[in-house]
């Protein structure tokens, strides 16, 4: 017995020593770091560095796109990763998830793209654009080819828009957002390299929609029944050698649950200043990893070239940066928004004849003072510090801070309990014994939920519960399973407040119409449904937002359009149906050997992958 005890003791000691040794490597894990420290990285290229967009250059009758960046070295591999199961399809028109879209985007170019710094629409596959009233005449590049050597012509553009997108094949979101007063644009081929779109009336988001990828007609229509089998076309089982693409890279290999390998497209139409065909890097590899922890391990084992860092890891990586072979970039706030939505639903369910939200609670939620009091009682600063480890920026608007339509005039506020209490008193609420009662004497008690398992949102819930208890509101915080949560939001509407996050587009606020239009399918805070007893009018502020979105979509001038979107953000801030909390900050670590990086808040780090090259630093 004694001997067994001695052995167990030894084992325990060994384990403890092991743990200590492992700990010793990262003494800075507890260190919190300010996001501004990361930005002031002496080695990093300034974030505001102007990215010179490629220009058209015609050589021997071929309209190339010429990169304006320094000439680099050919060869090498770039290894990135994707979390989850990997792509579900390589078809850019049927993909609905982020991973599949990333893969499809690498393989197919659109007519236009966004300037990575300013968000302005610039030509890609198109050579130029002429707007004549409601007619958009697009000239294509002459002499450029698909990866199999066939020319890219107006027929392909016509095919893509008419037979795929407007015909409603695959994911119809592009088509749906192209509907202008219920009508789709008309498209016509003028000659082999010119097409013309005719729209019913001016529609600001239209041009940006034209950045949808173009499909090679000869490849997509190989099968006679191609339209019927469209959903299965370019599935992940497709033989990579047969795939015809137009992007800088073409698929080389897909190994399920392990990796996706792209190789350079030798027929790509981008050249460098010396006239050599890009891209520089031979292979782009996406390793498919199951979770963030595995991704970090792989980066540390040098198996990855790039990683997006989360919360606590940033401090640890920052501390080791100068001795390492990577550089850390802070790209600022991303497109994500974390928010607290309040249920303003004021209708009855046709089937049960009852209100979705009990009348007692409706009186609270529909009271703007009550909502603003919550807004003032919430401590965004400590949320950012404690939950996001400083890797976020407080948010007060519906547009994310990196967006080009972000209303900078909304400065927000810090936590102000006095102001919150004043707002509540002005609406007849009373605080007795640190408990809040409404003017009818009801104790104010609300439910708060979010999706269980999301630790960030769960932590937010706990903080909100505490913050609101300071103004006497009793919050019952219950995280529930994601699917049940979605069912509550889209179907049963029996919720009070919810913490959620959505990702918007930083360049096109019109995409937010699904959320902000009072009949939108994701009008979270006052979702309408077929089960409603009709006849209840939208709130005045909802009507005004509907109006703003309609009018803004007709404005072609950026400044005029921005005025509308500024107003909508101001309304959302004043009315607080959705209380925005913060936007996460994106921080990337990437190996030093990757050159020609022009990080952008809008587009990320490796958007110009075809211009990147690899050069090991000489020591």
């Amino acid at each position: 017995m004694k001997r067994v005890a001695r052995i167990i003791l030894t084992v325990i000691i060994i384990l403890v020593v092991c743990c200590l040794v492992i700990r010793k490597d990262n003494p800075n894990t507890d260190l919190t770091i300010n996001s501004s420290d990361v930005k002031k990285n002496p080695d990093a290229i300034e974030l505001d560095l102007d990215y010179p967009t490629p220009k058209t250059k015609t050589i021997n009758g071929i309209d190339y796109l010429q990169s304006q960046l320094p000439v680099g070295k050919f060869g090498g591999e770039f290894i990135s990763s994707t979390i989850g199961e990997g792509p579900k399809t390589f078809n850019p028109f049927t993909s609905t998830d982020a991973t599949s879209s990333t893969m499809a985007d690498a393989m197919y170019d659109g007519l236009f793209t966004s300037n990575p710094m300013t968000g302005e629409v610039i030509p890609k596959l198109a050579k130029n654009l002429e707007i004549k009233g409601n007619k958009y005449i697009i000239r294509l590049r002459k002499g450029i080819q698909w990866s199999d050597g066939k020319p890219i012509t107006a027929d392909d553009v016509l095919f893509t828009w008419k037979d795929i997108i407007f015909a409603g094949l695959g994911n119809t979101s592009t088509r749906d957002s192209m509907l202008i007063d219920g009508e789709l644009p008309k498209i016509r081929k003028i000659d082999n390299y010119t097409v013309e779109f005719t729209i019913k009336k001016q529609f600001a988001p239209f041009l940006r929609m034209l950045s949808a990828p173009i499909a090679p007609k000869h490849y997509f229509t190989k099968d006679k029944n191609w339209a019927k089998n469209f959903d299965r076309f370019l599935s992940t089982n497709t033989n990579p050698k047969t795939i015809v693409s137009s992007g800088a890279y073409r698929l080389k290999e897909y190994v399920p649950a392990q990796r996706v390998v792209f190789e350079r497209n030798p027929n790509y139409y981008l050249i460098n200043k010396k006239g050599e065909k890009l891209p520089y890097i031979n292979k782009i590899i996406y390793l498919i990893v199951g979770d963030i922890n595995n991704q970090i391990l792989k980066f540390e084992a040098n198996e990855l070239d790039e990683i997006s860092l989360k919360g606590g890891d940033v401090a640890r990586y920052k501390a080791k940066e100068c001795k390492s072979n990577y550089v850390i970039y802070n790209l600022g706030a991303d497109n994500g928004t974390m928010f607290l939505a309040i249920n303003l639903n004021n209708r009855k369910n046709k089937q049960t004849g009852k209100y979705y939200v009990p009348l007692k609670k409706q009186r609270w939620f529909q009271d703007v003072n009550f909502r603003r009091a919550i807004d003032f009682a919430i401590d965004r600063k400590s949320m950012v510090q404690n939950i996001a480890n400083g890797m976020a920026t407080p948010l007060f608007t519906a547009e994310s801070p990196n967006g080009i339509y972000y209303n900078e005039k909304i400065k927000g506020h810090s936590r102000d309990l006095q102001k919150a209490k004043e707002l509540l008193t002005s609406s007849g609420f009373v605080i007795k014994n640190k408990k809040l009662y409404d003017k009818y004497g009801n104790r104010v008690e609300i439910d708060l939920s979010t999706n269980a398992g999301n630790t960030e949102r769960e932590a937010l819930g706990v903080m909100i519960k505490q913050d609101l208890s300071d103004i006497g509101i009793q919050v019952n915080f219950k995280p529930i399973e994601f699917n049940s949560l979605v069912n509550k939001i889209t179907n049963s509407f029996d919720w009070d407040t919810i913490i959620l996050g959505l990702t918007g587009s930083p360049v096109e606020p019109h995409n937010g119409k699904n959320v902000w239009n009072s009949n939108g399918p994701l009008h979270l805070f006052n979702q309408r449904s077929q089960n409603d007893i009709s006849g209840v009018l939208p709130y005045p502020f909802e009507k005004r937002i509907n109006d703003i979105f309609d009018k803004a979509s007709l404005c072609l001038k950026f400044n005029e359009r921005k005025k509308y979107y500024d107003e909508y953000q101001q309304i959302v801030y004043n009315e607080a149906p959705i209380i925005y909390l913060y936007s996460p900050i994106r921080i990337f670590a990437i190996r030093r050997k990757i050159k020609n990086l022009y990080p952008s808040t809008l587009s990320g780090l490796t958007y110009n992958i075809e211009e990147l090259y690899i050069e090991e630093d000489k020591k």
């Binding site: 609905t96 119809t172 992940t236 190994v255 595995n294 994601f482």
Partner: protein, 321 residues
């Protein structure tokens, strides 16, 4: 003849079993509040129309009982259906099964060829130093949770740089020579095999030791010893044959675990096997995929037991009568 009848009977018995298993699993998955379309519903750029289309494609617009009927019908016809991403389930499974088999077969081969002899040694030298050391080692092996052990090994791989961090092949696998490919796969296999090996070795060694001790303690062995037979003969000819019988039943269970036994370890090591596929499928309620794997699991279990029974008939004359 008798044996064929027995096998036939057993196969008949499995049919109601499979029906019950499929019914229970189908209804549990469908009645759980997991909505396969939840992600799409919260995506601002997905239209109502697309959602309806997806719903119809996945058959979610029909009552559960009809969904089950449709599934059962195609299953009997040998069609496993499509995953929620539209790929054929059979193709998906076929991609992963070889990977899992490589791992589990190596592990089973190693544990049996090491565990059984160690068990015998432990029994023969009962209460000796060797037995004590083996007991401690196997207790440690049984006590370490596989998940934790796997993570420890991963950290070891990162720190030492000797082994790749998870996966089955390196990114440049397709460019390697045949020898390079074999080396690459072996390198990737070392860590997951270590985890599974340590774990199942311990159990097997204990089991074998206990069986052997039981037998060595029985009257006929005492008689054999009294008769003056050599120790070698007693152990390998008389004791071992009887001690191995329970192990054959165990082998039947190992067979059932061939495809599903390594799920946790696969997940930690990001091993592209069946376990990880199924785990991900369960998370998003990919019904056809989950059902296919559950059915495979039950069939393997039944088949494993049947196999063990047949082997027992062959090795043990007492069962035959």
């Amino acid at each position: 003849m008798k044996m064929w009848k027995f096998i036939f009977k057993r196969i008949l018995q499995t049919i109601p079993l499979l029906v019950i298993v499929s019914l229970i699993s189908f209804f549990i998955i469908r009645l759980s509040p997991v909505d396969p379309l939840a992600e799409l519903r919260l995506n601002p750029s997905i239209s109502q129309e697309t959602l309806q289309k997806e719903k119809a494609r996945l058959g979610l617009d029909k009552p559960i009982i009809v969904q089950y009927g449709l599934w059962a019908k195609s299953f009997i016809q040998g069609d496993l259906g499509v995953t929620s991403a539209g790929e054929k389930v059979s193709v998906k499974l076929a991609e992963r099964i070889p990977n899992t088999l490589i791992l589990t077969l190596i592990v089973i081969f190693m544990t049996w060829s090491v565990g059984v002899p160690l068990g015998i040694l432990g029994a023969i030298y009962n209460k000796s130093k060797l037995d004590r050391i083996l007991t401690i080692l196997s207790s440690v092996g049984m006590a370490i949770p596989s998940f934790f052990f796997a993570i420890l090994l991963l950290i070891f791989a990162v720190k030492s740089g000797w082994f790749p961090v998870g996966g089955l092949t390196s990114y440049n696998f397709s460019d390697l020579s045949l020898f390079g490919k074999i080396l690459d796969i072996s390198k990737h296999l070392v860590l997951p095999v270590t985890v599974l090996f340590t774990l199942s070795l311990a159990g097997l060694q204990r089991q074998m030791r206990a069986n052997m001790l039981d037998v060595l303690d029985s009257d006929y062995i005492k008689f054999a010893r009294a008769k003056g037979l050599s120790e070698n003969k007693i152990i390998f000819k008389h004791a071992l044959r009887n001690a191995i019988n329970p192990m054959i039943t165990l082998l039947g269970f190992e067979f059932a675990g061939l495809l599903s036994g390594a799920a946790l370890t696969e997940y930690v090591f990001q091993y592209p096997g069946l376990g990880r596929l199924i785990l991900e499928a369960v998370m998003k309620s990919d019904i056809n995929l989950v059902m296919a794997s559950l059915m495979i699991g039950s069939i393997m279990l039944v088949a494993g037991n049947l196999l063990a029974d047949i082997l027992l008939i062959i090795t043990d004359p007492r069962v035959r009568s």
